[in-house]
Amino acid sequence: MGGVARALLRRAVQAALVVILVSALCFTLVRILPGDQALRIAEGRYGYDRVTAAAADAVRAELGLDRPAIEQFAAWVGRLARGDLGASLVTGERVVAEVAYQLGHSLMLALAALAIALVIGPILGLFAGLRPGGVVDQAGMVGAAALRAMPVFALGIGLMLVFGVALGWLPVAGFHEAENIILPALALGLGLAAASARVARDATVAVTSAPFFRFALLRGLTRAQAVWQHVPRNAAVPVLAYLGVQLALLVEGVVVVESLFGWPGIGHALSHAIAARDVPMLQGTALSLGLIFVALNAATDLAMIALDPRRR
């Protein structure tokens, strides 16, 4: 089996685990939460004022809420497999429709943040690593350490207050214009950029002290030629490997940043769903976030395989 097939299989298993884990936790949640489940679902469907005991009983019979737990779970997973995520208990909208709308916003934000991280981080890291101990290295790495320690929400507030309120350059909220994405994407991307700068810096130092780099110089290549020929690709592999680890932070950051900036994405909806104990929405949003995580991981795997022939 080739490296690509192995990587994709591993991620497919991970995706299956995400579905099982999230649905099992959400199912448990429904059973643990106080109050009559059927009544709550009926409320979600018909509205608080129009719900009756008869409607609740109808829901109970329809969803089989009076049957044993294991049967209920099978039914729960069965509905999930058919793509039926139920309706939000708060808005009454179909979860699939809501999530489909939010998914685009979240993906846009995540990709913008990744783009910022991958443009700033590795380039800064490369220049820092080419002159270890130099000005770029020392200043860049102090900055990176500070950024990495900055909580995402504090960074977001700082950006809001400086660029939105004090300077008035950028809007602090809203989501209709292209410029709306800049501040949330920066809040999310700068921390990732700092981490990848650090890794790229160390990788560059490692590559430029590797025997094959030394051999390139001893063969007569100028330093610039040797750097151009041998550093970027070799240094990119550890940067990508670490990015895989960082993706968890990206997904976590999405939840916080969307809530802070009022960005209508999945993370925002997830924190609302938790506060309102809206389990169908919670399941839909957690599943989407988990699957975005798996998809980005798979993309990272494939990029690493493309760069490093030893992984094929």
Partner: protein, 465 residues
Amino acid sequence: MTPALTIEDLHAHAGDAVLLRGVSLAVVPGVPLTILGETGSGKTLVAEAAMGTLAPELAASGRVALGGAVSEAGAPDARRGLWGRGIALLPQEPWLALDPTQRVLAQVAEGHRFIRGLAASEARARAREDLAALGLADAVRRYPHQLSGGMAQRVAVAAARAGGAPLLLADEPTKGLDADLRDAVVALLRGALEAGGALLCITHDIAVARALGGEIMVMLRGEVVERGPTAQVLGAPRHAYTRRLLAAEPQAWAERARPVPGAEVLSATGLAAERGGRRLFAGLDLAVGAGEWVAVTGPSGCGKTTLGNILLGLLQPVAGAVRRRGGLARTRYQKLYQDPVATFAPRLDLRTALAEAARLHAVPWAQVAAMLDRLRVADALLDRRPDQVSGGELQRIAIARALLPDPVFLFADEPTSRLDPITQQETMEVLRDVSAERGLAVLLVTHDQAMARKVAGRQLVLPGP
């Protein structure tokens, strides 16, 4: 003929330590020059002086004439412009010197493109020719991890010479290679001479020097102690150190009476082993008697170490059985390793390590001290950590440790292959003495046919893949 490289009166010192003392040499095209010496003799510093890569903290003096220009030996960057054009360095362990993410062809083409200034397509065509000439026509699209050690060595030669340098500098070209590949390396180096090139080879391996021929310089503690035509110097050495070095070659070791095997300590019948689904050996029968030396030889990857580990019970065979002599504890079967540093806890001083093992086997410390004395291990060494003593010293300490459980059988897995020749001889002598005194049976894995013939009463040759 004009020398391709001349070094005159090279001195180097770091603080009070004198590292090089008045080394001079001239390399003429067509005649290989070999510098022979042990670790710490300063031979690698000579190569670094030729390239101009001496560490700046070394104070160096002397002159280097290369490519028609004379410069100070210690001047940084003085010969930087001649790299690849006037002097080509063949790296140690060439499989580490190739970019793991780049195909072989591109790495050789680099020299034609960037140093000779050819167009990209022409550079690739020339690289293809270079590789084909070295018998690597099929390997041009491979990545370094898909090459064998010998192939990587040839690719490195092609890449190093692509810039057209007339002088090839080879620093320990056989380091990390099996002895079987030594002849191929020598042929490769001699090939570089054929088109009128010059060769400076630095090695600790007398066999390489002998096979290369030409001229030789023997170095000891930063000084050249003897020089001349290789055949003459190795045939009739004048300096005591050269004689000592030649005497340390296994074929020159004094003959000893081969021990008569005593009662059987270990036997194996019908052994078979696999690695990664590939059969290593099958139907192997072996019996070892007390005091007997059995040498296991064979090409790299043929399962020599696997066999020893199966005999010790560290691995399970695919088929067959191993029988130890009845009633003997497993600890009476011990092992010596190629790299002794890796067999001690890295942060623990050696005294504690030995004391704990002695206590475990109820051996009084006085007895341990006597054994260390017998093995010529200075007591003060024991207060150091494993990476703070030399390889030969640590291997002798490892022998002392392996003797604590009073073993009847010792699996010695290339115990001297990383040691300098003189240290190797001393270590093997000690081991032979101990074996004779205690009736200790030894299963010796080695690449060195001459050593196997010299020390073993019996040889087991594994066929290999």
